[in-house]
């Protein structure tokens, strides 16, 4: 696989096992040959629209065959993918289109209105492809350029703690390196059939597609967990061998009566990432899927995957997220910048070829997270997350250095939600915090105070948020106050908000 780009994975698999199904969705299934032909067509079509190698192409699609065609089509044109949440609203989309100077947007009819509204705000001409089947034919132009693994592969957006967009910039090499590492420790092979419920705008979801295509496996793609009974049915009927999920999905699955009694003889492994599993849930997940190996993992968009706990260690250290993924190095750094002693809390540092190139056109934010490494050409990633290591080097997540909320495994920047709340009529003060939630990991809780003479309605505030924010950011709880508590120096006292049940004014 040396130097083989992600796009070349697809053509290689098509040559090797063209008639094999690569993708199964509720609507349709496609073979490697069909996906390869679609990628070629989409690439030619994008080039004809003026997309240049290295350009960013935004993809605003739910999990579908079209999404996979877009991902591989963009990469085949030697452009970079910018996968975005399909529930994105026009305001945020327009901000990201400008931030990454996106050259074209691929979406579907359902999302075309939002995309058109976002594109209309731009001073540039940004072509919109809202029907992937209609673009591209061999006659449109030349063959796409030859791909290199040093090409720009993706700009993946993630939230900073203040809600500013951070475009994690990855080369093809960053992406193939981590894909190979994941394939190695999960022992993935072409007999695997992976069930993906995670959105592809989320790195954890995207890499299910990339690793399956790279090792010639089959991906069964669903638009989220939807009807849980359907998922259980798919595990059986599609002979699923691997199930990647986040704690919320596991919470839904373990709540199902009868699932633990099912044999599921094909299910070889399950993986958890996005957030840690509480001990009780972990035990319940192991009982429910007793025939499968469970991998506890930790990652972040900046390098995709950081560490994993080998399943044979789960019994020994159930709360650990393990060791560095193959081919990489990790250490915990204390406040003096030295390697922490076992048990000492510090920031987790990552070294390896999967570490991003930086945040797209944000040198200050980049410098904060990419630090000088051992060699002049090397930079290591400061994760911004606090960990400890035990005597044998196994890692334990302690907490975040910032106040980002993790809900359903996805990041929510309190600032971004607070800004929307502030824009709603009658809102004087707003503070958003994460509170423990059995299903979500953390629930988004908004504390709001009204302007004098205004009455606020929690349901109306949630509606206002739903109009401007992606689904996972909408507060589950809105709590009204006469005034938010302040610290001695006048800042909103977030600690006291999370510490006790606030007054229900």
């Amino acid at each position: 696989m040396n130097g083989r780009t992600l796009d070349e994975d697809l053509s290689a698999a098509a040559r090797r096992q063209g008639d094999k199904t690569v993708l199964v969705t509720q609507q349709r299934s496609v073979t490697f040959t069909e996906l390869d032909a679609a990628a070629e067509r989409v690439a030619v079509g994008l080039l004809a629209l003026g997309v240049q190698p290295g350009d960013r192409v935004a993809i605003v699609l739910p999990n579908s065959v079209e999404l996979a065609e877009a991902v591989y089509g963009v990469m085949r044109s030697c452009a970079a993918i910018t996968p975005l949440n399909p529930t994105i609203k026009a305001g945020k989309l327009s901000q990201l289109l400008e931030h990454a100077s996106v050259a074209a947007v691929v979406c579907d009819e359902e999302r075309a209105e939002v995309v058109r509204a976002a594109v209309a705000r731009s001073e540039r001409e940004i072509p919109i492809v809202d029907d992937l089947a209609s673009i591209g034919s061999r006659r449109d132009g030349d063959r796409p350029p030859h791909p290199l693994d040093s090409n720009l592969g993706a700009v993946v957006y993630t939230s900073g703690s203040t809600g500013e967009p951070k475009g994690v910039t990855l080369t093809q090499r960053n992406m193939t390196f981590v894909a190979d590492s994941i394939i190695e420790y999960l022992e993935m092979n072409e007999r695997d059939r992976i069930l993906c419920l995670l959105p592809m705008s989320f790195g954890y979801g995207l890499y299910q597609l990339l690793t399956c295509v790279r090792c010639g496996a089959t991906l069964v793609l669903e638009q989220g967990i939807t009807f849980p009974g359907r998922i259980v049915g798919l595990l059986e009927s599609e002979k699923i061998t691997g199930l990647p999920a986040v704690p919320t999905v596991f919470q839904v699955l373990i709540s199902l009566k009868g699932l633990a009694e099912r044999e599921l003889p094909h299910l070889r492994f399950i993986t958890n990432a996005g957030a840690g599993l509480p001990a009780a849930t972990l035990a319940e997940v192991r009982r429910t899927f007793s025939g499968a190996k469970l991998y506890s993992m930790y990652g972040q968009t900046e390098c995709q995957r950081v560490c994993y706990l080998p399943p044979d260690q789960l019994e020994v250290r159930p709360t650990s997220v393990g060791i560095a993924i193959p081919g990489t190095e990790l250490w915990v750094e204390n406040e003096e910048g030295r390697v922490a002693r076992p048990g000492e809390i510090g920031e987790l540092m990552v070294r390896g070829s999967h570490v991003m190139q930086g945040y797209w056109e944000e040198p200050a934010l980049t410098a904060d997270r990419l630090r000088p490494g051992r060699w002049p050409w090397e930079r290591v990633l400061a994760t911004g997350d606090l960990f400890t290591q035990d005597e044998e080097g196994y890692l334990y997540f302690v907490g975040r250095k910032d106040d980002l909320i993790k809900s359903r495994g996805e990041k929510v920047a309190p600032k971004e939600v607070e800004e929307v709340l502030h824009s709603l009529p009658g809102v004087r003060e707003a503070a958003v915090i994460g509170v423990p939630d059995k299903l979500l990991g953390q629930a988004v809780q908004a504390h709001v105070a009204a302007h004098a003479g205004h009455e606020l309605d929690p349901a109306a505030l949630k509606r206002g948020c739903a109009e401007q924010l992606e689904t996972h950011m909408i507060p589950q709880h809105v709590i009204l106050h006469t005034a938010l508590p302040r610290t001695a120096n006048g800042k909103i006292d977030r600690r006291s908000l999370s510490g006790k049940t606030p007054p229900q004014d």
Binding site: G224, I225, T226, F227, P228, G229, R230, V232, G233, T248, V249, Q251, V252, S255, L256, K257, G258, L259, R262, L439, L440, A459, K462, R463, A466, T471, I474
Partner: protein, 86 residues
Amino acid sequence: MNDTDVKAELRKYVEENFLYLRPELDLHDDEDLLQKGILDSLGFVELVDEVQTRYGVTVNDLEITEENFGSINAIVGFVDRKRAAA
């Protein structure tokens, strides 16, 4: 309790718990709760819980499907079948 009562109760439950985010929506009893974006998987877990406690029926893993929980009418039918079998 007859079908009409069950339907009215379920409607009220869905409206109070899930529909407040979408006041503009005029939900029909046959409409797809998932496709309309009224419920997601977490919503279904809550709904299934509610149906189990309220109507004393047991819902198995494979039963949380579109056929049984896809719309208000589907749930009414499901509760009906379950109670008849009990």
